[in-house]
Symmetry: C2
Subunit: 227 residues, 2 copies
C-alpha cells in the first residue's frame, strides 16, 4: 500500500532552486502495475528515489504499508529497502570490482541465507534474465544491455514485494526488452508483486495496467490503460 500526499522535492545548485517534484499525490494498492512516463527532466527518477526510500522529500508525506517513511532515519530506511523493495537504477549502479554473480548476491548478505543458498538464488536470477553464461564477468566486461540485466537480476533476487524499475529496457533491443517485461508481468500476475516502471517506451507503458505522467515535476495524468 503506497500513499503519497503532496510530495515535493527541491534541489539547490548554487543559488538556483530546482523544483524537481511539486505536490505529487498518488495512491497505489498492493499488486498494482503502474508505469510512469514524461519528458527528460520531469522528475521521474526523483519520484522513484523517494518511493524507494533512497531519499527523503522536502515536504509532503509518503506512507508505505501504513508507515510514514519521511519520519525514518537512515537505518529505518535501509531496513525497508532491504526487506520490501527491489530497485533497478537508471544507471545500473553495479559494483565495478565484483562479478555479475557477486553483484546479484549482494542484497542477500543480511538475509541470513548461507553461501550455497545465496549462490543458487543468484544463478537462478541470472538465468531469468538470460545471463548465466556471464556470471563471472565484471561490469566493464559486459555490454550495456547485459549490465542492465544484471541490475534487474539483483533487484529480483530477494523476492521483494515492490519492484521499482527506472527505465529497465533503455539499453535493450526490442526482443530482449520484451523478455524483461514478460518477466515483470509474470511476477505481477503470479506472485502479486507491485510493479512501478519508469519508461520512455510506449510499448512498455501499454503493457502496464495504469499510466502516470509527469511534466515539470507535476503529476498531469493518472489513468487506467485500456487493453
Amino acid at each position: 500500500m503506497i500513499e503519497v500526499s503532496n510530495l515535493s522535492k527541491l534541489y539547490w545548485t548554487g543559488l538556483i532552486e530546482v523544483k524537481a517534484l511539486r505536490d505529487v499525490s498518488i495512491m497505489m494498492g498492493d499488486g498494482e502495475y503502474v508505469s510512469i512516463m514524461g519528458p527528460s527532466g520531469s522528475g521521474k527518477s526523483t519520484l522513484m528515489n523517494l518511493l524507494g526510500c533512497l531519499d527523503t522529500p522536502s515536504s509532503g508525506s509518503y506512507r508505505l504499508d501504513g508507515q510514514e517513511v519521511s519520519a525514518l532515519n537512515d537505518d529505518g530506511l535501509a531496513r525497508i529497502r532491504n526487506r520490501k523493495i527491489g530497485f533497478v537504477f537508471q544507471t545500473f549502479n553495479l559494483l565495478p570490482r565484483l562479478t555479475s554473480i557477486a553483484n546479484v548476491e549482494l542484497p542477500m548478505i543480511y538475509s541470513g541465507l548461507n553461501r550455497k543458498d545465496r549462490k543458487e538464488k543468484a544463478i537462478a536470477a541470472l538465468e531469468k534474465v538470460g545471463l548465466a553464461d556471464r556470471m563471472l564477468h565484471r561490469p566493464n566486461e559486459l555490454s550495456g544491455g547485459q549490465t542492465q540485466r544484471v541490475a534487474i537480476a539483483r533487484a529480483l533476487v530477494n523476492n521483494p514485494s515492490i519492484i521499482l524499475a527506472d527505465e529497465p529496457t533503455g539499453n535493450l533491443d526490442r526482443e530482449t526488452g520484451r523478455d524483461i517485461i514478460n518477466l515483470f508481468q509474470k511476477l505481477n500476475l503470479e506472485f502479486g508483486v507491485t510493479l512501478i516502471i519508469v519508461t520512455h517506451d510506449m510499448e512498455v507503458g501499454r503493457s502496464s495496467k495504469r499510466l502516470i505522467q509527469l511534466v515539470d515535476g507535476r503529476l498531469v495524468k493518472d489513468e487506467k490503460v485500456d487493453t
Copy 2:
C-alpha cells in the same frame, strides 16, 4: 573514408574466450549516415570502440582516411580521436566532479583556443541540446537524459568530421530523442559530418541512410534504408 577489413575482437575472461566481433568488413565514404543495430551483446559497442580508436582489434585491418589505425600507438590513436572523432558513449562517461560546461569544454583543452572561446563554444553546444540552464550542474545533479545530452554536446564541440554515437537516445523521451536525431541529421546534411549511430530504436534506424545489423559478432546485413 572508413575501410574495415576482416576485423575481429576476442576477449578473455578467465579461461573463456568471447568472440565479440568476427570478421567484420565495412566500407564507408565521407558524409555517410549509418545506423548499427542488433541484439544485446552482439558486438555493437565493441565495433564502435574500434572505429573510435579507443581500442585495437585482435586481427584484421581498419584504415581511417588511408591510415592503418591498428598500427598506431596510444599517442597516435589519441591524436586521431581528438582531431577527427566525436564519441557519445553508451554510458556517457562524464567526469563526475566537473560541471556540465567543464565536461563539454574538455575536448577543446588541446585545441589552442583561449578560455573565452572554449566557454562560448561549450555554451553553444549545450544550447543545441537544450541544456544551457544546467551548465553549472554536475552529473549527479542531472537527470539520466540530461547526462546523455551533455555527453552529446561534448561530442559535438570540437566540430569533428565523424560522430560515433552509441545509443544516444536510450534515456530520452520520444520528443527529446527526435530533437537529437534532427540535430545529427542537420550536421550530416549541412556540414557533411559522417554519422555512425548504434541504436535499438527502429525510428532512429529508419531516419538514417544505411542500416548495418550485427548478430553474435558477425555482420549479417548492410543495406540502404528505403525512404
